[in-house]
Symmetry: C2
Subunit: 464 residues, 2 copies
């Protein structure tokens, strides 16, 4: 019977050696894992071996003293094996250690149809085998970073005293418009006679369901899957993606901004510290300069720029001869990615909080500013990508909120429960939403959302 | 502008005083929160005040030196307020401190329709206002424990080196039978011409999608929402619930058992340590003896009992005159809750791992034992509840697995991708599933799943 906490792993050996623990030298170990490569030199050979516990492989050396030498010679990519061997430190070499094999035991073979072969395989091909691609370096690194980043999110919020609220996926309400929501049913009947007895869809945001909990626990966050049935195929849209949505009570847009900056810096730092090998790989192979970009995210101050100022800046730029694809800059427009990137990359050269948007381009729940034309919304724009997350102070005034619901032709009755948060001990509160998948793209330099999701679901595309 | 990390909270004051930090005495604090009760004695009055940061309230004392004394006199349940006051230690009193109010500022009023009134309100009524009930003591405690328990799950697995895999909610595959799955669509068209171009449903388990990741990262876990469209209304079934499903490679059923025990003990201990006030409340108000029950879960050894032994025990019990509702004990039957509880409570009086079930009552993917009639499945049974989680070693043999799929009349083609995990470097592996909501019921003594979920979704019942 294996004891989970004491079996030897490739990671343990690396960590012991990095910690100058020389006890590892000469230690007999038993490790399970998978073969990556085999260089057979005749009477001696070298296996690259990954046991899933870290990004790096261990080098195994076999010779004709190795039990099952004949199997080791034939070892091939993808085989599951259990090895017994002696750790040998190799100071000055590329790897800090190798393992001299006493025994090689084949546990699970691969047949000739194994789709991952040594030759490089493109991301597009790998998307057709989402259940195999985590074994490829890039995806191995991606999914470990995804896991560590997800944990960083929980650790940050729990450390700050936030309560994790698991808002529902199934909803008979709808945050940002039914057109983008998937419907749910059990039979091909009318909703009225189906399972729930009314129309039900998949959530497009947990915010409305989270707000009442912020008005109880003060600081809360959601973190879970979210859905949009957008009929578009881009590299940045998925039908199912993960969102984190903090909501804080007794807070203004400026508290929201402070939280966003603090949050982003903390979780990016956490990944840089805890996924060193993976991040080095992305820096070397995927996006040159990635580590510099992220280190700046973590250390430098972010700017706050109002929408009004942004329009002035863009107007000035056009006057001076800058050409945007969409060149008609006027107040009230929704800024395009090119505009956001101009502001971030050409003007401020640092992350920018863009705030106070025209109310007509933003959601009904955003706090209406005293100027009567803008709302207290905020988008965080970062170099190279543009918008990475957005939020707002919420309209706390019941009458103003009802008025806005009426203006937009929404069904007030559906929102009665939500309006209760303004009737019963309401207070200024704020929040934001951040897409885990897009953040992961930013952190790793991967440019297609289909690659950061484990099993991507997009328009017309779903496997298994 | 509020600084998130430095504002004073009710929790901070309690913690400082518990840590014998006398600096709190005489300190001027500003705190936002909500009124629970108001005892006005004329020239002086006492408010019970909760700021959401901890279960306990703070006692506020106002008198006619308090700015807005007239408002404080009229303070009522549910109002949002910002108070300024001086902390005063009260050794020997019920509360270790009170706050003498300098100023009382009403931020958000409540109107007369506020549904939470001082008189006790039953759980059934509170289910009709899921957005308000977190303000009631029981639910306040429940949802904080839910958050802490969820974090304990992440912390346990991440600490053990597991990779968090966010398996998809939308699936064109199906783990345990399409009859229980919700369908997903965008229009009332045939699936072939709808959004994904094929039938898609909501996941009933992440296991099949997680297994390929265990065969890459060795140890992985899912943690997310899961769906069952069962048309039954019980106190233990919800249509949407949260599951955690670890999957470990190079592992047998006994490794699975070790992990289960280690996992349960760790997360229960975490809640006992980090939610002391809430757990004391549940022990005092909901389930007498709860803390004893949980402390035993954490400290005592669990038994392993085979299904064969269980049948012998039950047969013997019937012979000796014990009456079960379902009294015809025979090999091959699915044990009922009464049988499980007899074994756990009357025979062993400790948690029991029941293992090696008849293959015909278990899922296709469970490892077939050499006896030809049982599979290496395991259920963890606990006193007072019965089954709390279940798992198995997985069938690693491709041919046996295919044979089982054929026997059960399942569509092998749909599972080709899953079978790849046995073709390409497969190995013994195992896992289990644990329902967060049922575990939370066990931990808090709450007996209806509708109360542990934030916004419960059950047959014919969905709000917002």
């Amino acid at each position: 019977m294996k004891n989970i906490s004491s079996y030897t792993t490739v990671r343990e050996i690396y960590e012991a050696i990095a910690g100058n623990n020389n006890e590892m030298d000469g230690k007999l170990v038993v490790i399970d894992g998978w073969i990556r490569t085999n260089r057979n030199m005749g009477n001696i050979g070298f296996l690259s071996f990954n046991d899933g516990t870290c990004f790096k492989c261990a080098q195994l050396v076999y010779d004709n003293d190795t039990i099952n030498f004949e199997q080791a010679i034939k070892a091939k990519l993808g085989q599951a094996v259990t090895i017994t061997g002696v750790v040998s430190l190799t100071p000055g070499q590329k790897q800090p250690y190798e393992i001299k094999l006493k025994e090689f035991v084949l546990v699970g073979d691969v047949d000739d149809t194994y789709p991952l072969q040594k030759k490089k395989t493109g991301f597009e091909f790998l998307r057709t085998i989402p259940h195999i691609r985590p074994r490829a370096n890039t995806f191995n690194a991606l999914y470990r970073v995804r896991s560590v980043l997800s944990f960083a999110i929980h650790e940050f919020f729990q450390g700050e005293g936030f309560v994790y609220v698991q808002t529902p996926i199934l909803t008979s309400n709808d945050c940002e418009g039914a057109g983008q929501a998937f419907k749910v049913c059990t039979e091909d009947k009318k909703p009225e006679t189906d399972y729930f007895g009314k129309p039900v869809s998949l959530t497009v945001s947990g915010q409305l369901h989270a707000e009442p909990f912020a008005l109880t626990f003060r600081d809360v966050y959601t973190f879970g899957p979210t859905f949009r049935a957008e009929k578009s195929s881009t590299t940045r849209h998925a039908s199912e993606f993960w969102m984190v949505e903090p909501e804080i009570a007794f807070a203004t847009i400026y508290d929201d901004i402070d939280l966003m900056e603090d949050f982003i810096k903390n979780i990016v730092k956490y990944v840089l510290v805890n996924c060193k090998d993976e991040m080095q790989f992305f820096n070397d192979r995927i996006e040159p300069g990635l580590l510099d970009k992220l280190n700046r995210m973590v250390t430098e101050s972010y700017e706050i720029v109002s929408y009004d100022e942004a329009i002035e800046i863009l107007t000035e730029a056009v006057k001076k001869g800058h050409k945007f694809e969409y060149n008609e800059i006027k107040w009230g427009m929704d800024l395009q990615s090119e505009h956001e990137r101009y502001i971030v990359e050409k003007v401020f050269n640092c992350p920018v909080f863009l705030i106070n948007f025209p109310k007509d381009i933003k959601a009904f729940y955003m706090k209406q500013n005293d100027d009567g034309r803008t709302v207290a919304g905020v988008d965080l724009l970062v170099p190279g990508v543009g918008e990475i997350c957005g939020g707002s102070e919420r309209e706390a005034d019941l009458d103003k909120l009802k008025q806005r619901i009426k203006e937009l032709g929404m069904d007030e009755k559906t929102y009665e429960w939500y309006l209760d948060t303004r009737r019963f001990g309401g207070c200024p509160h704020a929040g934001f939403g951040l897409g885990l998948d897009r953040l992961l793209m930013f952190i790793t330099g991967i440019t297609n959302i289909r690659d950061v999701l484990l099993y991507p679901r997009t328009y017309k595309e779903i496997l298994y």
